[in-house]
Subunit: 569 residues, 2 copies
Amino acid sequence: MHIWRVNLHTRELAIQPVPPAWERLGGRGLSARILLDEVAPTCDPLGASNKLVFAPGLLVGHMLSSCDRISIGAKSPLTGGIKEANAGGSTGLKLAHMGIKALILEGAPEGPGEWVLTLSMDGARFEPAGDLAGLGVYAAASKLLERYGPKVGIALIGPAGERLYHAAGIQNLDKDRTPSRIAARGGLGAVMGSKKLKAIVFDASGGAKPPLADPEAFRKAQKTYTQALMEHPQTQSYADFGTNAMPSLSNGLGGMPTRNLTAGQFEGVESINGERMRELLLARGGEAETTHACMQGCTIRCSNVYAGADGKTIVSPLEYETVGLMGSNLGIAELDAIARMNYVANDLGLDSIEVGAALGVAIAAGKMNFGEGDRGLELCEEIRQGTPLGAALGNGAAAAGRFLGVERVPVVKNQAMSAYDPRAIKGTGVTYATSPQGADHTAGLTIRAKVNHLDPTIQVELSRKTQINNAGYDTLGVCLFGAFGYATVPHTIKDLLAARYGWQVEEDILQVLGRETLQAERQFNLRAGLGAKDDRLPAWMKVEALPPLNSVFDVRDEELDRLFDWFTP
Amino acid sequence: MHIWRVNLHTRELAIQPVPPAWERLGGRGLSARILLDEVAPTCDPLGASNKLVFAPGLLVGHMLSSCDRISIGAKSPLTGGIKEANAGGSTGLKLAHMGIKALILEGAPEGPGEWVLTLSMDGARFEPAGDLAGLGVYAAASKLLERYGPKVGIALIGPAGERLYHAAGIQNLDKDRTPSRIAARGGLGAVMGSKKLKAIVFDASGGAKPPLADPEAFRKAQKTYTQALMEHPQTQSYADFGTNAMPSLSNGLGGMPTRNLTAGQFEGVESINGERMRELLLARGGEAETTHACMQGCTIRCSNVYAGADGKTIVSPLEYETVGLMGSNLGIAELDAIARMNYVANDLGLDSIEVGAALGVAIAAGKMNFGEGDRGLELCEEIRQGTPLGAALGNGAAAAGRFLGVERVPVVKNQAMSAYDPRAIKGTGVTYATSPQGADHTAGLTIRAKVNHLDPTIQVELSRKTQINNAGYDTLGVCLFGAFGYATVPHTIKDLLAARYGWQVEEDILQVLGRETLQAERQFNLRAGLGAKDDRLPAWMKVEALPPLNSVFDVRDEELDRLFDWFTP
């Protein structure tokens, strides 16, 4: 494996050996290490000094079920701190097959115009992206697939990234070539836009699966893991309902974001949950079965293809976070309406969590009423048009709040909260507050723990443990749903690493990687000027009680500051 | 005099006594002190925690020639540091006549809609600004004058401020009720926009000139000062040519920004300088004489009213900085074209320096060619329309550079340089680098000093002296052109303060005030995270030689870091 380094200013590719300090890292951990080593934490996130890193996780490359994720990292224009967002789809696999341990994009071109960067075993090629500029990701990806053939991987941005909107993500092709696996959070699409890259095409022809130190042992560990995963009840639930199985839990615990976080249970939940979605999809037929896999070899297949009444696809996938933020959060109890908004956000290359939260803010400002799906769609189209209000929404919930004069905004470090109200699921609130990534459930969702989610005294410990584990999985390239398998047979992680790389590691390697990753990220943020003052939920969540449980976020600040007390910067 | 404190959230006005520590301050110095005392330096400049301060200078209120300026301050969304921008016109006088030592606007409204805040001796009134939203400042001011009568003062923002563009300023009525005296720099218009204030109307009826401790002594000092000012040769030059007398000096010294700062002398200078402007205006006739006063009682009358070929006003005033940034900097040698762009920038409520520099960046990116006045006007209209490119330009040169992928941008702390190339006028380069305000000539323009402007070893001392004096004048409310008078008879400053307030101060009071002001500003910036790394010109100015003198900016970093060595934070 090598480091591929592309300078956008000189348009040169350097293929370099992996420095020893980076050897035993991948994915999120490697991205954090590279950023800490090479990017000035105080730099302008949209300036030439920032770098955009693509790093497949350590286990990527062998179509292990749910283990081929790509981590994308940079300094975030949204949070001002470090950012990693990962995605499924085919990008991670392509990089691994090309022998790329990390792709580092650095510098920025002078002069006008956007580019398509093609990486293949022959090196790097830059082509003007003139005909793609301003296109949504669906049209742009379709043109690119026509031009480069159906076998390539593509990471690309939509108009949101081109315009440097702070809620812009980077879309990746899924295994069926739909550009919908988005590394959504923290404005990474804007970083790619600042480097004038409309798309990166990965042509892995001539590449190969990464070598295995012990193929036999690998297959054995793989089998143990896959079996554990398939036997886990959660796997069947994802296959049936996608991530939208969640409302039974989140709404049940009183933490589903409802009407701009003024309630935690939505009376319309049964019109938008996974059960209803499955029912609809089975009745309507559609281009795919109810769910399919986003990555080759994934046995979970959580990804749905949402079809309208005519059986035609509206959007794929429709995830719980989107249903929460663009549905219950806006008082919308109709899946078709949510799916249509989701499609526009996807096409623009936007984080649907951020847009959903921003629309909640727009409602608070009187720009829309709860339950108005058509108006929500209109506002999404305003983002496409780039009106002043559209631009504010495209820059995320915090920016929308500033533009519309709304102070009550559900963000941490400027980043919108996911679809778990932290006043009901307090451990996840601790994660929102303290994660170096800003408010983000994937950094440490605690909702499945069998604990009292309202007890403020136990949440820091719970969040810490979850944050460490998740940072570990993100470093391995493991989808958090694959984690259900590993949690049952934890030794398979060390077995797989030993079989793949010949490393002799301890059974707690997941936690070792997680701690190391969080430590690097935290370090970066401290150097960027983020500190305890930023590790807080918005003040209103400490006083505004959330019905029906009428709870507030009451984990003490001193407790929050203990989360990282296991290392000294 | 009192502190008037308006909470935008509760819409309440509190009229409070002046705390002792603020007593002996006014204008820029008072604004800095208030911000340091009350605003968290790390706050979001466009969030509810920022405060917007209006403070007339210490000498404001008696129509002393050129001494009625209003300072407006806040944490800057452009630089991330402290910001003060001051303006002439009638706002300062109105505040002083109402007994307002400082107006502090704090908090921000929840919910939709913009407001007009009217302040009078009866208190504060909020009225919805619905019919004014989105209007340019000319139309908005005209409606407000109709509604509130011709005697009020008005400070207002254009669409740029409403959209939170980082190059938005705050416009003030001049004495003839044109809303063209802009507190332009650093995005203060966006701060006002974030507080949802379209306009503040100052109704001073029932107010009075501030009391004088010794009216006789005041008149005597006033006479000495006014006479010195009127006898100064510079005063006649301003009356004849406005600020656009400058090219003879700046172009002569090879420091006039030309074609996006690739040269320091412009071959078309004689088509756009003050002499040419005066000639045109005399030939064309027009609504006013060539120049007039922006403030009542000003004997300098530097402000021109620029008429087109038909004798109708295109814009008023047309200043040297605009001619430099929107003229020579864009290779445009035609005053009518510059005036038309200037009008749009004014109407949108934008800093014309920032827009001119951003257009230079747009040229570098191939969006326009040098010399194309019509295209420049089109791009200004794009800002009005709020297209993605327009929004980038409206956010200033640095944002335009990020959006267009241009690294070579003439900014310090994100703020565009004024119309003096720091490679030819190096003392001003030191000011750009080190001023707590970011690149800004009013913070310490050194061009009139009789020194070798290319000698790097003498510039720090020169800049420091000028920065201290200017901070002093800004604290007094004195126009920097009035300073020509005070420089001849410096004792009149202490005489005027003694006669007005009964204070016994030393003759170096100007420097005392200046140092105190800079110290507070520097302190704020250090706490906001700005440091030595931010006190630098862009790296390209150290290596790219400026024709025809072929000089680079070669004042050493260690020298720059000495500028503030006279105090320890």
